[in-house]
Amino acid sequence: MIGRALRATLIALFLGAAAASAADSPSSAQPPGVLLSRQLAARARVSVGDVVTLAVDANGARGMMVRVAGIYEPTPDPMRFTAQRLEAHMHLPDLAALVADSADPAARELASAINVKLVDAHDAGPFASELAARAPGVIVRPTSRTRDDDPFAVLDRFHVAISAVTVVGATAFLLALMVIRAEERRDTIAILRLIGISRRSLLTAVAIEGLLIAVMGAIFGVIVAVATESLVNGVFQARYDTALVFVRVTRSIAVRSIAIALPLGLAAGIGASWPLLRGQILSLFRR
């Protein structure tokens, strides 16, 4: 009900704001204060201190004068980041005065939800069950979600799956590069083996090289991610007019990326050079 009333009111606000401005005659009694979302204030072109008409109906009927007491940034909600946050916050009695039918005493009981903060948040589940049993018809839900049921947990799994596929693709890329590097140095490896450098030493050298390339690549990737983080966030925040943070490169993500790169680089370095280290020395010389 609140959502519906506010949405209807917001439409009326544009008309009301213009009318109040034209009249330029605030009433002697201080009108009730209202907080507007930044997006609504910008859309309606009102500032703190302005007195505007808030109405239930789009045509301005069933309205009341309110004073813009403040403008707030709505808490970003990833579930509806594409929605236009045209919102207003007011005291419940003021809302009741605005929307309730004065002929119906019960109409003032219009709270559609009650938020309860428990002493111990871990009691949310049992508390919800008990309250639901005691008050039939009331829907009681803990605000904390179970991990498996959360849409963002599902999205997390989706992102991890995509990352895994990307890592496999990147490994093929790295392996191909290391094969080319090994091929380029076929003669060098042949000469080194010919003069008695052990396979173990050569293997260590190529493993270190693979490791270095992978780690450097991962570090470069992290640097690119950090450098583009604000760009990506800026683009999407501007696109959807929200303060929601879309990308955040955390230390744990950076460490994880590098940690994944280490064994892959090692494996690619050794795997690519192994045929050259294993084969007969003379067969390595090109003809």
């Binding site: 959502g3 949405r7 929605a83 018809g137 849409p151 596929v165 990307t166 990147a170 890329f173």
Partner: protein, 401 residues
């Protein structure tokens, strides 16, 4: 030997790196293909789901998308008025309530109870039994269809009797249970995978609610094909300006704007990233490969082989790597799409028939075009490198080197 033949031989000669490149491109390509499927999949699936009901217009009593619904005053009368409109072919009233279902005194289960005036078919597929008969053809007061999963859990088969008690949301109620006979076990198109649903007639729902006439909270309208949904929507809005009337296209547009935005964005971003990745992979491999063969290429140029021929050979090499990977990406992408779809479909409340990755030929075409462009772009630098290769200097360097 043609340029393609030369490219093929060259690719075969460096087969390990070629195979790795094809694998890399195939994996990246599979991801691109999936992102192309995702870019429209959910929307296509949603549209398919909406149209599967056979109705192209939805009427609700409240603003916003028809998800949170309120009863429509005088909906029976409304249905009659709607049927009288020349733009309208068919009208169905629907009301959804929460209820509990109980069989033989076992533990009751919470269910979604759908009351509908639609009989002889609807947004469900019969697994076992029959459809709801029309009101006049049955002496039973309450017949119902039951979701397969729920039927299995309750041990219900066609002919079983289930006690249904409606529990209207937001009010305390102690409505008596009514006995309903299951006539069919079905898969509901709109029901979530974890949702237990039953469907019955509006009359039976009225009984369950203890009302003489229950208002519907959703009216489905089928427009006449010759008129189209837009004209029918306008006609309905003229008839009842207080109601919210949405064509399927409107609902899809709203969905595209709101619920689908995240997937559109991620598919766009990942498509761009995967293509950049594929481009870098192939461009690097070709460039390194060309650098290794500069002597050969300079010698070929000295022998009078034209630049165009060598450029064409490199383009073919690129096409073989990207094309091979790109084609392999299609079945691989199909399999990956199944896995990713399975993950995303774990989201709560999704209709069972809704999918995120839906095959469409447009995605295949786009995939192939994008890969063709990537192959050309990846070959551009190596081609440029060979085109401006100083023959004499390269031959000298190769001999000295």
């Amino acid at each position: 030997m043609t340029s393609l033949g030369l490219a093929w031989r060259s690719t075969k000669r460096y087969r390990v790196r070629a195979v790795l490149a094809v694998i890399g491109v195939a994996i990246i390509g599979a991801l691109l293909f999936d992102m192309l499927l995702l870019s429209r999949g959910l929307l296509d699936s949603f549209a398919d789901l909406l149209s599967s009901s056979g109705f192209d217009i939805r009427i609700v009593g409240s603003e916003g998308v028809p998800i949170v619904r309120f009863p429509i005053d005088g909906s029976t009368r409304l249905a009659a008025d709607l049927r009288a409109l020349p733009e309208v072919r068919d009208v169905v009233l629907i009301r959804v309530e929460r209820a509990t279902a109980q069989v033989n005194g076992r533990t009751p289960r919470d269910v979604t109870l759908v009351g509908t005036t639609q009989t002889g078919g609807g947004p469900w597929t019969i697994v076992k039994g029959t459809n709801l008969p029309s009101a006049s053809s049955s002496s039973d007061r309450c017949l119902m269809l039951i979701a397969r999963r729920l039927a299995a859990a309750l041990g219900v088969v066609p002919g079983s009797v289930v006690d249904l008690s409606v529990r209207p949301a937001g009010i305390a109620s102690a409505l008596p249970a009514i006995a309903c006979r299951a006539v069919g076990v079905v898969n509901f198109a709109f029901a979530a995978t974890d949702e237990d649903s039953v469907a019955t007639t509006m009359i039976a729902l009225q009984d369950a609610l203890g009302l003489q006439a229950a208002d519907a909270d959703l009216v489905l309208v089928a427009s006449r094909p010759a008129v189209g949904s837009a004209a029918a929507v306008r006609a309905i809005e003229r008839l009842r300006p207080d109601l919210r009337v949405y064509s399927n296209e409107d609902v899809i547009a709203q969905f595209n704007q709101n619920g689908f935005a995240y997937f559109r964005q991620i598919s766009l971003v990942l498509s761009a990233l995967t293509m950049t990745f594929a481009f870098l992979l192939v461009a690097t491999l070709l460039t390194v490969s060309v650098n290794q063969r500069l002597g050969e290429i300079a010698a070929l140029r000295a022998l009078g082989i034209r630049r165009a021929r060598i450029a064409s050979m490199l383009l073919w090499e690129s096409a073989l790597l990207v094309g091979g990977g790109g084609l392999l990406a299609l079945p691989l992408g199909g399999l990956l799409a199944l896995a990713l779809d399975h993950i995303l479909r774990q989201m709560p409340g999704l209709p069972e028939r809704l999918h995120f990755f839906v095959f469409n030929w447009r995605a295949v075409t786009t995939h192939l075009v994008v890969f063709g462009m990537t192959a050309a772009a990846a070959a551009a630098y190596p081609v440029w490198l060979t085109a401006r290769l100083p023959i004499a200097e390269t031959l000298r360097r190769e001999v000295v080197g």
